[in-house]
């Protein structure tokens, strides 16, 4: 009577589990590859020094690594845990199997699309949001599918109480959707090219508002939800304090949303916004540590279990990593610490503590535990899992410690002055070569971690093979569960009303968001009233094309374009960057890391030939440089067929190109290219090697044009004033 029997969908969980393992290996492998490039810059030049392969260059692989790890590995890991725990917590099969399958295959298709397009150079250049607009739309659609599937399950649940883990999932879904949409508002030019609708400072603010919250709501809240489900489950004891977990959830949600601007301290962002970011970031330590303590204390009195159960070991290190990362975060939000840490490898280390320990180890623990549950058999080898644990832990240490050392070294060397007021390390390269041993150790750490993860893959495959071999998908995917009946059955009207209010809330929110969009979007398109600098002019057609090449090659992954107002930076790079200089930058290219020097004032610093030779072989102009060769830029013809479309698109976004500018774009482009070729031909060495080549049609020329323009407008203004 009244009791319903239903199946949990384990098939989908298994699918996500395999995807997690697969993409984990891929993502980490790419990570290891890019780490090795720091030590062996020529590692991937299989076809010889002069025939560098474009899609294997660091600038293109790095986004592949970050996207693969964040969205493919951790993403699938989240879905794996969410699909498993949600069904059980709500005592219901997922809302709709078709949606589950669409979600799975759609997400994998997106990953594949990303894995293809990113190396090909189709990128929007915004960190962790590099995917181009068609894929962005797909991401949003699949995310909505996920949202419907989860909310549908919540609505048809058979358990009145919504356990705290589900709250974390809900927060993830809602917030990521909103953030992703707002950060990826783009003006499409072609099928795989778009411009961010925001420019310069505005774009930077939106990007890091998103970037920070992506960390918060993609890499933190869902994993916390998983923590609140899997740790009690595995340890078989209730969470230390359920009340604390509720407080943890709500305070975290309300604080995180406000903390974004701490990524832009000392930039051209309005100061109050920077301070606001600091205040809220510091406050974040309370809920974060509250959560960490709650997780760890759940294991109080169960340390004997931890000793013998590798799954719990993974969890303990994961939570410790969470604690470390969430302590560091607020610390790095203090302006004086940020002044040291920003742009250095400290940040890379900080991020990897979160990724390797918190995300990676949580997921590893969950995968081990679930493979026993899903295949109804003990783990193939507990010993192997323990080996993985030790390799992984060692890997984390070997990864993080060298990078912390590297970070402090960099900060120290960059800021060191001679008594006469000159920089001790005037040549940026000297600060790079100093830390290369650290990069080597980091690569070893990565190798250890990856090896451990491969052991996991082997272990799980073997476990699956030894386990239930039923190939009949239906039977295997549909375990029968006798349930305690429908909680709601007795309530009739009440339940209906309650459901209605949930629906009502969702609909209201959708309405608010749409209303907000309608109001806000026109606001963005209004001309920015950033203090404009008279002499700052839009890019010429050739520079525009050069800038797009800069974006395509991912130069911003190693070079910043934001000189902070410190003596050391002004001395090294030139006058500090002003907000008004970036008004025509769609998107902004400030970067977040200085593996190479800042290039905001590089325009006019070197002659065109230097840039030409530097791109061809960085080590010829800068011995010891670890920059990749860009020989294809000299071989490839510049495809400027869309330049008018691009300019028209930018006009819509507020760039003041006149009609004549656009109609004469091709001509102007050719003229400027010709001029650069002439410059290049002044070097006899160049003439000797490229006498017959039509260099003015090549991509390199556009890039040189862009680089030589960088940061010069303000100088022009000065001379004009004089």
């Amino acid at each position: 009577m009244e009791k319903e029997q239903f199946y949990y969908d384990n098939k989908i969980v298994k699918m996500f589990l395999w995807a997690t393992i697969l993409w984990g290996v891929v993502g980490m492998l790419v990570g290891l590859l890019v780490a090795l490039l720091f030590v062996f810059p020529g590692l991937l030049e299989f076809a010889g020094a002069d025939n560098a392969i474009s899609w294997l260059s660091f600038g293109r692989l790095r986004p592949l690594h970050t996207n693969a790890v964040i969205f493919a590995f951790v993403g699938n890991g989240i879905f794996l845990g969410v699909y498993y725990s949600t069904q059980r917590l709500l005592k219901a099969r997922m809302f709709n199997d078709v949606l589950s399958r669409i979600h799975f295959w759609g997400w994998q298709a997106i990953i594949v699309a990303a894995a293809i397009t990113l190396p090909l150079g189709f990128t929007s250049s915004k960190e962790y949001a590099e995917l181009e607009w068609p894929i962005d739309i797909a991401v949003v659609l699949i995310w909505v599918v996920f949202a419907i599937n989860l909310i549908g399950t919540i609505l048809k649940r058979r358990q009145r109480h919504i356990y705290v883990a589900i709250w974390f999932y809900i927060a993830t879904i809602v917030t990521i959707a909103v953030l992703y949409i707002f950060n990826n508002l783009e003006m499409p030019i072609t099928a795989f090219k778009s411009y961010s609708v925001y420019s310069g400072v505005q774009d930077a603010l939106v990007q890091w508002w998103y970037g920070h919250n992506a960390v918060a709501f993609f890499l933190t809240t869902p994993i916390l939800g998983l923590m609140y489900y899997f740790i009690p489950k595995v340890a078989n004891r209730p969470v230390y304090s359920y009340r604390l977990s509720i407080i943890h959830f709500w305070t975290l949600i309300f604080l995180y949303i406000w903390a974004g601007p701490h990524h832009l301290l000392y930039t051209a962002l309005p100061e109050w916004a920077q301070n606001l970011g600091t205040v809220f970031s510091v406050m974040l330590i309370f809920p974060s540590w509250g959560g960490m303590i709650n997780g760890l204390l759940t294991l109080r009195g169960a340390w004997d279990k931890v000793r013998e159960n590798p799954v719990l070991k993974f969890f303990v290190v994961a939570i410790t990593g969470y604690g470390m990362a969430t302590f560091e975060g607020p610390m790095l939000s203090f302006k004086n610490l940020n002044a040291i840490g920003h742009y250095t490898d400290w940040i890379v280390g900080h991020v990897h503590i979160g990724a390797l320990a918190w995300n990676g180890f949580m997921i590893a623990g969950i995968v081990y535990w679930l493979s026993e549950k899903l295949w109804k058999t003990p783990l193939y080898s507990r010993k192997l899992a323990n080996t993985h644990f030790w390799l992984g832990t060692l890997g984390i240490l070997f990864y993080a410690i060298p990078l912390y050392v590297a970070g402090f070294t960099q900060a120290f060397l960059w800021k060191q002055f001679n008594p006469d007021g000159t920089l001790v390390y005037g040549n940026f390269l000297e600060t790079v070569t100093q830390v290369i041993p650290m990069y080597a150790m980091r690569a070893i750490g990565g190798t250890l971690y990856l090896t451990g993860f491969i052991l996991l893959a082997i272990n799980v495959i073997k476990t699956a093979k030894a386990g239930s071999k039923v190939e009949d998908e239906l039977a295997e995917a549909a375990p029968l569960k006798k349930i305690s009946g429908q909680r709601v059955a007795g309530e009739g009207l009440h339940t209906w009303l309650e459901r209605k209010t949930v629906l009502f809330t969702i609909l209201t929110t959708v309405a608010i968001l749409i209303g907000g969009l309608v109001e806000i979007v026109p606001l963005i398109l209004v001309k920015s009233n950033i203090p404009t600098i008279e002499s700052v002019k839009p890019y010429t057609p050739l520079e525009l094309e050069g800038r797009d090449i800069y974006i395509r090659e991912g130069c911003n992954n190693c070079h910043s374009q934001m000189i902070r107002p410190f003596r050391s930076e002004v001395e090294r790079y030139g006058e500090y960057s002003k907000a008004g200089e970036f008004v025509y930058d769609f998107p902004f290219l400030w970067g977040s890391r200085r593996t190479g020097p800042d290039v905001h004032r590089v325009g006019g610093k070197y002659n065109d030939n230097w840039h030409f030779n530097h791109m061809l072989d960085p080590r010829s102009t800068s011995p010891g440089s670890i920059m990749p060769r860009y020989s294809w830029l000299i071989k490839n013809d510049l495809n400027a067929s869309n330049v008018e479309d691009k300019m028209e698109g930018l006009v819509t976004l507020g760039v003041p190109y006149s009609a004549e500018d656009i109609s004469g774009a091709k001509q102007a482009l050719l003229a400027q290219a010709k001029e650069i070729e002439n410059n290049l031909r002044q070097d006899p060495e160049f003439v000797k090697n490229y006498s017959s080549s039509n260099i003015q049609n090549k991509e390199i020329v556009a890039l040189i044009a862009y680089l030589q323009r960088l940061g010069t407008d303000i100088k022009a203004g000065k001379t004009a004033l004089k």
Partner: protein, 71 residues
């Protein structure tokens, strides 16, 4: 810097959304009992029984056993 209004505006909209959800959940009694749910979530595996075999061993009472089904 209109974009500040977007980020603040959207943040506040999201915050208001969560705030409404919070009030609703308090009202619906979500947080009246802050202990039992943490124990209840540990149970669901043991709940599952193999109906046909009527097994008495708890180890067998795992959820994934293939059994008859009324569908």
């Amino acid at each position: 810097m209109e974009v500040v209004y977007i980020t603040i505006g959207v943040s506040i909209i999201v915050a208001v959304f969560f705030f409404i959800v919070f009030l609703k959940s308090v009202k619906s009694g979500q947080y009246e009992d802050t202990y039992t749910p943490s124990v209840r979530m540990l149970f669901d595996d043991e709940l599952v029984k193999d109906e046909k075999e009527g097994s008495k061993e708890p180890e067998k009472a795992k959820e994934n056993q293939q059994t008859n089904n009324k569908n």
